[in-house]
Amino acid sequence: MTVLRIVGITIVAVIVLLAAGARNYTELHERLIIRGIGIDRTEQGYKVSLHALKTTEENTTELFTTEGESVYDALENLGLMTDKVPLYSHSFLVVVGREAAEHSLNDVLDFFIRYQETRPTESLFLANDTAGELFAHQKDGQYDLTRDISDTAAGRQNHSQLVQTELLDVVNAMFQNSNAVHLPVLNVSDGSIMEYGTGLFENDTLIDFLDLNQTRGLSAALGKIQGGTEVVKGPDELPVTLQYSKCSPHIKAEIQDGKPRFTLTVDCKANLSQTSTSVTQPLDKEAFEQLEQALSEKLRGQIEHALRWAVIENHCDVFGFSGALLRQQTDYWRAHQDTWINEMAEADYLIAVNTTIALEGKETSPKPFSVW
């Protein structure tokens, strides 16, 4: 029995040592660690721009561009430029060029849904022009897209004018069959990479944009605001700066007179960051209500503007009304799901924003409480 065990263990050890994983092991310096991928449409197919980490130096990024008939074909052609083995599991952002988005988002994204190394949590962006332009952009002699976006991606929830979108969100939106796909747009402006707004899609084709104010409205309605500032008129028409803390949306779907009626309620929390009143003339406690009302009105206007442009004008259900209809008025949804894209503009929409100022800083004005 002991001899059998020794023979058995030897066989297993030989098998393990000869296993493909052990034999074909790739060292770290032989890897091309991809940080971000940009995809543009060309006449022949696709041009792909990549940012890869240089494994020999610290914090430096290399730019590779390659072309092919499909995204995968272009990425395979990367082998013609480098002998390193690409590693996609550390890629955290994908930027789709405008022409590619106008052609078909499906063609671009299939690789990222299918390929074993890519992650569904990759952030997705749309380039106002080409993704290549964003990837080639340099600041202080270094490519800054993946560096800056890495900061932005980590802290992008602080930018209320950028709707956080992951591959997972886009695939889920595609399944809703209600033109729910939307992507944050980046643009090169004044020598920097800036937020530009939100791209709206019909099925998987880019058709229009929301501007930055509308994007903030959409962010609030989707509950994705967790930061960003807004200046409103306070007492005596003086500007007061408030910082968004959190927005919690709720959609109520009802059927009235044979058509859907949606009530979108957004509970918003904000903090008081700065006032323009004199420190010797403190604001009274009514100032709270006034500021809360002013912010509610401003945000409500932004949401309404975004809703009008996306839902009424472009028939893009980026707010998730179809989901609310499915959950709350299932029978109606069953009967109308095939025609919902055309019917959404006919539905009634009510928007209510309730703002609460949670923190007011060290200042005693306006007074959050009274002694008696």
Binding site: G21, F175, G320
Partner: protein, 372 residues
Amino acid sequence: MKKLSYISARQLFTMLIVFRIVIIMTINSILMGGNRLLDNLMSCAIAFTLNFVLVLPIYFLNRRSPRTNILEKSYDLFGPFGAGISMFYALYFIFVDCYYLSFFHIFTVNVLDPYIPFWLIAVSVMAVAVYGAFQGIEALARTALLILVVILTGMLFLFITVIPRINLNNLYPLWVDGTDQMWTGVLQVLGRSTCFPIMAMLLPQVSGRKKLGFLLWNLILYLFMAIGIFVLVSSLGSYVDTQLFPFFSLASIAGVRPFQRMDAIFIGVWLSGLFLKIATDLYLVTQCCIKVFGQRSRKISTLAGAVLIAGGSVLISSNRQWYQQLFSLKLTLPLTITAALALPIVMLMVDLIKYRKGKRQNAKQAVQNDSA
């Protein structure tokens, strides 16, 4: 005569939990019948109830002859024809292991990188499983407890780290598209109920509170499956329908800093459960062969079983149509229903008829003796 090994009810049902968890982790929208995975929550509830009915023939057989397993019973009832039933069960367990191993092959081909030749995986798993089968059921039962602890800890960790990604807006009402998916799910769960034939084989070797063990086994499994489906849908949304291995995709997005990307847990859980399942089935194949060919066939039947499982899986993996047949309900459902329900019912009825006949003959004999 060889001394019979005994295991406790706790150990048996621990093994059965591990086997089921391994196969639950392979569920996807294709197998469960459509794009409304949430409907399969009801499949779990129905399967949970049906299990109490499915187990009845095995329970009554065991109650009538507590120390006789289904193979011995078949010889008692059908004489030499009992060999046919033994061989059926041996082939059934080999088929089930081909199913389990081929599923792992699909996983390695589509999701794992770098690619590992399947024959190598099959040989490695078989080498370990044969060793486990040689050690006997007591050793396997003890190992099951350790593996279950690893599996449950891993899965619990996975579920906890994915909590931040749960979005209740991804949920939808049950039966939006009808009840077809729910019933397909029930059939799929039943088709994969390979634990009942194992019970039929092992219950006579089990001591302790079997009824309580069965109840807890059933409850834990279907709670696990229901929670799994809920977490999958609520965190991945419709993205779940695009994935061949949704639990693996879930693991790849799970993460609470600094714990990120839990895919390794998924692979570890699957491999350890796979080893235990195949080792136990090989042990049972050996018992079937011993019943037909005698004690001398013990080692050779274990090795032959391993060769058949490995060879069968490799052969099946070479042909897409065979794959589709193997995973089709047309094959798994009738085989499992025959092994788990039909044969035990037939044997129970024959046993009852023979018992009554014997009773009548005894009474007649007694009357004849009295009159004499």
